[in-house]
């Protein structure tokens, strides 16, 4: 497995459980409105997003309804001022800040703190 990260301008980093900031990619790798997936050291996957106001979000990449690791490939949007991503498989929406599923209150995905540094 290669966890190579190029060194250019700003980095997208997320806070892991052990409080460490993990560098996932360059900020320039994120297109507003489109996600990317990153691999975490423990084998989990995270979906990273950037909105048009350049805010960053990170949630678990795995779609809890289907099990597939695809949330990074969903369309994003705003619902009642909450940023969300809609799973590309069965279209359930997840709040990008809290990880809550907007269509089923019993379901949530992990959400991470992110920053550009």
């Amino acid at each position: 497995m290669t966890l190579a990260v190029e060194t250019t301008d700003l980095k997208v980093q997320l806070r892991l459980a052990d409080d460490d900031w993990f560098t996932a990619c360059d900020l320039s790798a994120l297109t507003p409105g489109r996600g990317v997936a990153a691999l975490l050291p423990d084998g989990r996957q995270v979906a990273l997003f950037r909105d048009r106001a350049d805010r960053l979000y990170a949630v678990d990449n795995r779609d809890p309804f289907t099990g597939a690791a695809v949330l990074s490939r969903g369309l994003t949007g705003t619902h009642r001022n909450r940023p969300f991503v809609a799973s590309p498989l069965l279209k359930q929406r997840f709040d990008l800040v809290s990880g809550e599923c907007l269509d089923d209150e019993e379901v949530r995905v992990a959400a991470y703190e992110v920053r550009a540094a």
């Binding site: 497995m1 290669t2 966890l3 190579a4 990260v5 996932a24 990619c25 790798a29 297109t31 507003p32 409105g33 489109r34 990317v36 997936a37 990153a38 691999l39 084998g43 989990r44 996957q45 990273l48 909105d51 048009r52 678990d60 795995r62 809890p64 309804f65 289907t66 099990g67 597939a68 690791a69 695809v70 490939r73 969903g74 369309l75 994003t76 949007g77 705003t78 619902h79 001022n81 940023p83 809609a86 590309p88 498989l89 279209k91 929406r93 990880g99 599923c101 089923d104 019993e106 379901v107 949530r108 995905v109 992990a110």
Partner: protein, 868 residues
Amino acid sequence: MTTAPGATPTIVLVGHGMVGQRFLEALAERGLTATHRVVVLCEEPRPAYDRVALTSYFSGRTAEDLSMTDMGFIEDHGIELYVGDPAETIDREARTVTARSGRVFAYDTLVLATGSYPFVPPVPNKDATGCFVYRTIEDLLAIEEYARTRATTGAVVGGGLLGLEAAGALKGLGLATHIVEFAPRLMPVQVDEGGGAALLRTIAGMGLSVHTGVGTQEIVTDASGTVTGMKLSDGSELPTDMVVFSAGVRPRDQLARDCGLTVGERGGITVDEQCRTVTDPHVFAIGECALAADGRVYGLVAPGYEQAQTAAATIASDEAAFVGADLSTKLKLLGVDVASFGDAHGTTADCLDVVYSDSRAGLYKKLVIGPDGTLLGGILVGDADAYGTLRALTGSVPPISPESLVLPAGADSGAQLGPSALPDEAIICSCHNVSKGAVRGAVTEHECTTVPEVKKCTKAGTGCGSCVKVLGQLVNAELEASGVEVDKGLCGCFAQTREELYEIVLALRITSYQELLDRYGREGARGGDGCETCKPAVGSIIASLAPAIGASGYVLDGEQAALQDTNDHFLANLQKNGSYSVVPRIPGGEIAPEKLIVIGEIARDFGLYTKITGGQRIDMFGARVEQLPLIWARLVDAGFESGHAYGKALRTVKSCVGSTWCRYGVQDSVRMAIDLELRYRGLRSPHKLKSAVSGCQRECAEAQSKDFGVIATVGGWNLYVGGNGGATPRHADLLAQDLSDAELVRLIDRFLMFYIRTADRLERTSVWLERIPGGLDHVRDVVVHDSLGICDDLEQLMRAHVSHYRDEWAETINDPERLARFVSFVNAPDTPDPVVAFVPERDQIKPDLPLLNIGLRPADDVLEGSAR
């Protein structure tokens, strides 16, 4: 083994059908499940399911979809449900029920809800191989299996409501279908002579053979005892491979007879108004097995539900009574509108009929009116749109004259009566007995704003579904009345329809989604990030107008990239495990051996699952994101292009072999199909577009089920539009005849561009054609006679599309920047997604689905990312 009665009183329910399940819900609603032990004996191998919707299995609903039993409900209420274990005897003295398994249950209250069994007339060989009845999911599976493997012709005995449903199912299974009805007309119980005649014409017109006024005398079999035909009472013989008996039902009252409960002369367990058996106060009977206090056995679900409520209320010592119910019905299948309600046959003294009949159009409408003007009932054939409203008005004096109620809309003085005219007590949903007042309450008091919410809140519309249309009108009317403007907008971000957005984009040459959202979006949505509904819809509008408005035609350029669904984004189709499928274009379905070999080699080298699609081309499944460019590099190299299987765009133009080889062909259908596919490839539209070209009227390419279909004639081509396969099949309408090549192409250009301009998001041509005012005639006026003077524009737009077309995959693999997106992980581009894995099946691969359930998550971490 005997289960002794404990301190808690026990209710035993025999039969877990639709009514049994409703009874359990009624027990729960009244809190009786908390105070009682509830035991359910269920004969069928599965808990209660929606028998009324049985036939929808053939249009794609699965046995699971039909289930009405939420196991959570059963468990939460501590109900003991014994599936596949019928009651065999009842000892009323000892108050016990013995089940087939040998279990014995003592009861304080026994409720029989054993339903009916299909009546099979006692004709010779009625049990031969190939004879069926139609009542349970098991019946249906057996019919399906036999029809698929052993039959090409089927006959249904009985032309009533259920017989026609069964016939529709056989026809749907591809059988040449006959209906044999003893009465002189179809649906004799529901419709009168005039209605029967209109119905007969429509059903015969759909290709079913109807034999009325004849009885079945004998089933004819071969030496092995397998059905080969039937002898009819007029002396003729009808050859058929299978027979489905649908000649009515009889109450299942044997269990009751055996234990000495009184049953009616013609069957049915005799009960009083509280649904208690007249013989034994500890025993109740509800649903189709009961002979109600009004002397009738009801074969419909709504009265059964009412009986279930009544029995539960009585057990709870509340007052309730079942005194009779209405027999309104609507045929759900076959694409024929037939409905009858109230006193359809006019049996009330001094009543009068108001009839409108148009045999040419297959229309028949009759209303039965009482001497004081009260609407008593009616029959609608051919157009039952008004059914919901009229049924609810039954028993009152309609606010407009009955004459104008039966006249078709648009005819002189023909008036449409909206549901707003109904009184609050009017029953909108007769399956669940929901009044108009209750529906209004759902909107005003419970703040429901959509039909699904109202359905959930009131249960209305969740039975046979025939009231859903009125429900929709009512919800909208109520919202409008309470000042909520009914939103026809595209989504939460745009108040405009797709058509309006198209006009804005075209007129103002807007090439950016963000600009459109910020200038024309709803107040709260401006400046935001839009949503998953409007992004692809606007992306598609911009793409189909790209050359005309000066936008980039490449769907993944700049901002466009962020608007596309994942399929368009990766130019491939996402599959359930996160892998993709790849479909190269094979125009007209014609492919040279060399290219076929290339596909084979690529699939082999990348280990892909291959399948011939229903669209005459080849799909390769199981590619990971990072493999897509490698696969396409080889495909492009061999001369393949994107097949747009992922896009709301032209899919395929199927062809038959045509005049080149076929002895019947009158034109070269393959060449035309290839020309059309190449002309319209890449055209983005509101929904996918499909086409086909047949070389003669035999129609081997199935052109009449396509958005635009072409059939060769000796003089040229006939163009059909608005056909659809899929969930709601529709035969295409003939738009123009005997066209030359050039005329054909010009008409299709205009037709497609007019559709793209005016259709709603995700609206196929079939639905669009039915929705737009004026329908086919209007479309013909616009695209053939140029009534709006826009044909030049439409042709111009299509010319621009054709000349700007470039293959998306060729453009992608030659551009490193565009290729950058095709990686599994931004920080580990060569590590494949570990959730995408495969296992072998029939010499190929299939997704490792169990892996999706476990993922890679440590076992102790159950909260995050785990939907139960």
